[in-house]
């Protein structure tokens, strides 16, 4: 080996040592190797469709409509003047009349069909109903349940706490569907019927339904959320509690408000305002929310005033 080659060998060794030393101390290294470590991600399991009302047993509504049509038990019911008591009484009565149960049984999911059993379990009385024609006509269109919210919504958004339109119809239909007049129960006037119907629609949105609606809303704003750019490292850990005031058609009644934060730490504290703006922009951007169940709009904890937690994607 010549002298020049020895010199070159020394230079080459030194160059390699310097290069690999630089690489070892992090020169050109990946900026954040911690990304290799698995970080826990949040998974929310949500039913796709199961947005349903958590309501009292709908059988309680069906019962009184049948009750007055049966002669002998009606006499037993009549001595009790209180309207409240009238409810538990009729309940057992549908059982003695088994022809009806097969129909109400599949229905209980929907509170709406409460009125439909009225005409159906009674094929016999039908000759009479023709006298009051409007009554049978109404339950028929009522059966396609989806059609009803559209009609009822603009009419009485605030009335639902007292009773849905359907229930109002039900009260109207009941006396007409029976052979008896309005005064078939002594002391039981029309006044009380709406108050009795209060029990059914006083549905409260349960936790499951609230979670379903929350995830349904989050799904719908996802396209807008994906457009947001995370303002800085750690900002995606901020979870914003955001309050939405919604109209019945799913549009925003007012600008969303941020009502709280979690996950704020020293690193991302300065991004809080920015994240608030981004969250509001997300919900405003995808604002007409669709497919939310109408019957849960105005109930207690319904989605007319809904608070959910949101965080930036990423």
């Amino acid at each position: 080996m010549q002298r020049g080659e020895k010199l070159a060998l020394g230079v080459a060794v030194a160059g390699h040592v310097v290069l690999f030393g630089l690489l070892s101390v992090g020169f050109l290294a990946t900026p954040n190797p911690l990304k290799l470590a698995p970080q826990p991600i949040q998974v929310s399991l949500a039913d796709d469709i199961a947005i349903e009302q958590t309501s009292p047993n709908p059988a309680a509504e069906a019962a009184p409509s049948v009750a007055p049509e049966q002669g002998p038990p009606e006499d037993a019911a009549s001595p009790e003047p209180t309207p409240v008591e009238a409810e538990p009484e009729p309940a057992p009565e549908p059982k003695p009349a088994p022809p009806a149960p097969p129909q109400p049984a599949p229905r209980p999911q929907k509170p709406a069909p409460a009125s439909s059993p009225v005409p159906q379990p009674r094929p016999l009385p039908k000759p009479q109903p023709p006298a009051a024609k409007p009554a049978p006509a109404k339950p028929a269109p009522a059966k396609p349940a989806p059609a009803k919210p559209a009609a009822a919504a603009p009419a009485k958004p605030a009335q639902t706490s007292r009773g849905t339109g359907r229930d109002a119809q039900a009260t109207a239909a009941r006396p007409r569907g029976s052979r008896l007049g309005d005064d078939f129960l002594k002391g039981l006037s029309d006044r009380q019927t709406p108050s009795r119907a209060e029990a059914a629609p006083a549905a409260k949105m349960g936790a499951q339904a609230a979670a379903d609606i929350g995830s349904a809303i989050l799904r719908q704003v996802q396209p807008c959320a994906n457009r947001q750019v995370t303002p800085g490292p750690g900002a995606e850990r901020i979870r914003v509690a955001i309050n939405l005031r919604l109209n019945r058609d799913g549009s925003l009644a007012s600008r969303p408000r941020v009502v709280g934060h979690t996950g704020v730490d020293d690193e991302n504290r300065r991004y809080v305002d920015r994240v608030d703006d981004l969250a509001i922009a997300t919900f405003v951007g995808c604002s007409p929310l669709r497919g939310l169940p109408d019957e849960l709009y105005d109930v207690q904890n319904g989605w007319s005033n809904f608070t959910l937690r949101y965080k930036l994607p990423g």
């Binding site: 080659e5 010199l7 070159a8 080459a12 060794v13 990946t30 470590a37």
Partner: protein, 230 residues
């Protein structure tokens, strides 16, 4: 074999990647690193050498064609190891040996002169291109050696998956990263070697052409001289 990879140490640091690797992969990496060092040593020394050689050859030929007294020029250059000087010395010595006798076979002398200088040219070129075969070998073999290390390392990673019953990226990624590092080193060694080999081959060819040109010119001069002799 330990299938559990340490995630905390899974960085791109070459030392960490080397230390985590299997011993076969380590061997491959070490060999490729040595090849890279040797390649660069050759590149540095050869490029310096061939540049100096060509510069001095150009000056030598300029001096040679300017000189009037070849004997004096020969004495001045007799201990030079420059390729042109070697060819020149070979020609002058053959000339002296051939013209020492009383009878001169002109054709035979011309042929011997040509042969002697051709041999000198071949010898110089051979010495000059001595290290180039190493560059060629490294350039063509290093990628395959690196690939071998990578395949071995990935095989080991898959064995790790099987042992851990877990195919998540966290289990596979470090092993594959360290395996790919072997290919990276192979390419790191091979690419400069291939480039240098092509470049130096071209340089050696040019030196050889220059030597041949000089030898032919000198041969012509001697041949002309031969015509005037006796």
């Amino acid at each position: 074999m330990n299938p559990v990879f340490n995630l905390e140490a899974a960085t791109l640091s070459p030392v960490a990647l080397f230390l985590q690797a299997d011993w076969v992969v380590k061997l491959v990496m070490a060999g490729l690193l040595l090849a890279s060092i040797w390649t660069w040593a050759i590149i540095l020394s050869f490029s310096a050498r061939i540049r100096r050689t060509r510069r001095e050859m150009a000056r030598f030929e300029r001096d040679f064609w300017k000189t009037d007294d070849i004997e004096a020029f020969h004495r001045a250059q007799s201990d030079s190891d420059l390729p042109s000087a070697q060819v020149f010395n070979a020609g002058v010595e053959e000339w002296r040996r051939s013209t020492a006798a009383n009878q001169i076979d002109r054709e035979g002398v011309r042929e011997r002169l040509g042969t002697a200088m051709g041999v000198a040219v071949a010898l110089e070129v051979e010495q000059l291109s001595d290290r180039l075969n190493i560059l060629a070998t490294v350039g063509s073999v290093a990628p395959f050696v690196g690939l071998f290390g990578t395949v071995w390392g990935i095989m080991r990673s898959f064995t790790g998956i099987a042992a851990a019953q877990n195919s998540s990226l966290a289990v596979v990624a470090p092993g594959i990263a360290e395996a790919l590092f072997a290919t990276a080193i192979g390419l790191f060694a091979a690419i400069p070697a291939v480039i240098a080999y092509n470049r130096f081959s071209h340089g050696v060819n040019k030196v050889e052409a220059g030597l041949n040109r000089f030898a032919d010119g000198f041969h012509t001069t001697l041949s002309r001289q031969l015509d005037g002799a006796r």
